[in-house]
């Protein structure tokens, strides 16, 4: 077992984990952050995407021990109190989700995308979200949501 200290959604957690434990399993089973979900076992779907020190990662592709000393933001910590993150607002306004299972990962991938490129074109949005699969929306409204989020955040889609 190895000791880790990770700040998740603003709270510091100290834990002993098996070295093989994936970050997503520790988030879900270790500290009950079940808003982050698992959709596959080959790192293809991106449902488990979180922000690790501000950048999006698939938390199935990171070991919990690798997150030691880092800050993790999950979908449960994205809003600022009652204030929704603009990406969350945009997904609701543009009907960018249906079953909602890919949504935590999709939203956090979009947050990272907009951090990197506040003014993305449709093609850039599509490219930026390529690692996150959705089976419900055909991506149409997800792309619209991200473009709208860019607008809300002061960038705006090309």
């Amino acid at each position: 077992m190895q000791h880790i200290s990770v700040t998740v959604d603003g709270m510091e957690y100290n834990a002993e984990v098996e070295p093989r434990t994936l970050l997503v399993h520790w988030l879900r089973n270790g500290i009950g952050k079940v808003g982050t979900v698992v959709g596959c076992d080959t790192s293809n779907c991106g449902a488990c995407t979180v922000l690790l020190d501000g950048r999006s990662v698939k938390s199935c592709s990171v070991l919990a021990v690798q997150a030691n000393g880092s800050e993790v933001t999950t979908i449960q910590g994205l809003a600022d109190g009652n204030e929704w993150h603009p990406v969350q607002t945009a997904f609701k306004e543009c009907h960018g989700l249906q079953c909602g299972y890919c949504t935590p990962g999709m939203v956090l991938a979009a947050v990272d995308l907009l951090g990197e490129n506040p003014n993305p074109s449709e093609a850039e949005i599509r490219e930026g979200l390529e690692g996150n699969l959705c089976r419900c929306t055909g991506y149409h409204n997800i792309v619209k949501s991200v473009a709208y989020a860019a607008e809300l955040m002061g960038g705006g889609s090309k």
């Binding site: 879900r28 089973n29 009950g32 952050k33 079940v34 808003g35 982050t36 979900v37 698992v38 959709g39 596959c40 076992d41 080959t42 293809n44 779907c45 449902a47 999950t74 979908i75 449960q76 994205l78 809003a79 929704w84 969350q88 997904f91 609701k92 306004e93 009907h95 989700l97 249906q98 079953c99 909602g100 299972y101 890919c102 949504t103 935590p104 939203v107 449709e122 949005i125 599509r126 490219e127 979200l129 390529e130 690692g131 996150n132 699969l133 959705c134 089976r135 419900c136 929306t137 055909g138 991506y139 149409h140 409204n141 997800i142 792309v143």
Partner: protein
Amino acid sequence: MTEVLDTANAIGRPIKRKEDARLLHGQTNWTDNIQLPGTVHMAILRSPVAHANITKLDISGALKRPNVVAAFGAEELGDLNGSVPCVWPVTDDIVMPDFPALAKGKVHHMGDCVAVVLATDATSAVDALEAIDVEYDVLPAVIDMEKAIAPGSTIVHEDKGTNTCYVYNLGGGYDEVAAKADVIVKRRFINQRLIPAFMEPRSVVAAPMGMSDEITVWSSTQIPHILRVLLALVTGVPENNLRIIAPDVGGGFGGKLQIYREEILVTQLARKLGKPVKWTETRSEDMVASHHGRDQIQDIELAATKDGKMLGLKVTLLADMGAYLQIITPGTPLLGMFMYPGIYKMDAYDFTCTGVFTNKTPTDAYRGAGRPEATYAIERIVDELANELGMEPMELRRKNWITHEEFPYTTVAGLTYDTGNYEAATAKALEMFDYDGLRAEQKQRRESGDPVQLGIGISTFTEMCGLAPSRTLGALKYVAGGWEHCTVRLLPTGKVEVITGTSPHGQGHETAWSQIASSILGVPVEDIEVIHGDTGRAPYGMDTYGSRSLAVGGQAIKAASERLVDKARVIAAHQLECSPSDLEFVEGVFSVKGDAEKSQPLGAVAFEAFTAHNLPDGVEPTLSAEATIDPQDFSYPHGTHLAAMEVDTETGKVTLRKYVCVDDIGIQVNPMIVEGQVHGGLAQGIAQAMYEGASYDEDGLLQTASLADYLIPSSMDLPSFITGSTVTPSTTHPLGTKGVGEAGAIASTPAIINGIVDALRPLGVNEMAMPASPMTVWKTIQAAKGGAA
């Protein structure tokens, strides 16, 4: 008759979804989130081979592993090893093999369950699987349907002596009309096997609740109510002691319209161990163990006159059942049986379907279930007929489709389509698409010999939705009904509960059902709570599949809401000292006609009904009403879908440049949700045409057993869609609705393939296998050129 309010007018508005706040903040209740104290976790040893006798199975090693509580093979499980049921024995002489939850001495497909381990944590359970000693005597695998039914084939279920599950015939008279035909077009289409691949893997938790004899089962399912009945029958747990909860469910697409062996195992083991048992599949398990869809060989003949009048259609299907029959495996191809003639008038129709066993994962419903296969066949062969006759493909369709004046129209397959307006939907789609402009560009590219050719794909489809009139289901030997239930309760505080038997998993029922109730009760949408997916709170229902929830469930909400208003009217009249007929009901308020001062809002009536201090004689306290509605008929959404396909003739690369669809789904309760449903359906139908296909090797091993190998389209693989609608209300459904869940998936596949073939016609290409990958397209081009592929 209660007035339906124009003033509340919640129907038809693109209200943002109530569901989204939770889903966007991770405040969700997926089955895998449920962590009950003392839970033991189940892991499954699955067959790595397609067909084998199990010559040795020793679970004792697993029992010695850390944290392991128990382990079972079929022998250890004994009588608790239930058989997975099939509820649609389509013919009297159908062959129905036993489908034990844990294989008994023999495995029949890759992924079949061989043994289970239960441990105090999931990791320990998985780790202990390797300590199970199992040996297989591998048998030849039955993979190809034609070989399977040829003499001398290996038999999947030896005790049955045949790989033919059933033969189903409908119609007749084709040969007679074909004899008079000028043209007969024959094609073989392969409607390949697909994997539903809902994003949330399946998960089940079963727990003895310690109070009474109740066992609660949480499952990621589309069908909590049907599951309750079937689990009771399979396990012997009295139905009254079973409570099934479908919490947040992450997609289904038919793949969770099932009673799975894992649901049986988890329930039985929770009983046996007396503690909560949990199992969540990995994606790799899902790919081999959740049912697949489609998988038909379609031999199609269309007979016509030389001026393009269709005379008759002959459909001969081989339908792959896979290794076992699951809930509606045999019936799934027959859901398409009535739809092969599509929107066209003709004189004769012959249909034969042969269900075939193979050593593959069982098939069952996948978005559209039989109807995408039918639509693909008819829309593809109509294009081939047009080519044969040298006619413009849309002109050929116009010449043969049912015109809007001809409804209601009874088709050659025996269905009566209540309404439709194919002319209107098509005219709108052609304009939105710039059909003439794109045809001109196509001509120019052909003439200039552009290496990237342009093709235009057409699909003018209809489907049968709103499953289903119970008597019709009975006539088809389906063992359940097709009704739907709703209870509407007005609480003393004026809030409303709409308790529905539908069970959403992404469709936004909480929002849309609130809109229906709001439009009748005049209560704001936000004051209405929709309760679903829990047999303890919503005891009656037939669940969600087959685009039925609005078409059938919506009727029940309407009827129950109207009955509630009727009861409230009697109470309000008593309070206001007038006759019920003197009251009008507008925006949730009863008022005396001509004396608006005398009024009582519905909420106040609810409180009177609650206190019961001053009710009219013979009126019972509380204000609720229920309705259980059996639909009068199916509903028939239709639409025109157009795809502009660019095909690089040098590389085989296909690009979907533009996709336009105009769907007529009747009255739309929430147009925003409707559009979303269309988008998602399009993505899945386009994926069948261009990307997805489950493939097996000759040993019966699934080659596409992960999301790394099975190509679910990403955001890069699809364009934005251009959607529109026409509104021709259904006349057999009181809300005028028809259903939209499957439309996109049903219509889009042939539009894409017709477009690719259209692009390549000048090269002599008349067929295209699915998925139309660059390699497949390139090889087809080379073959047409006569070169070596």
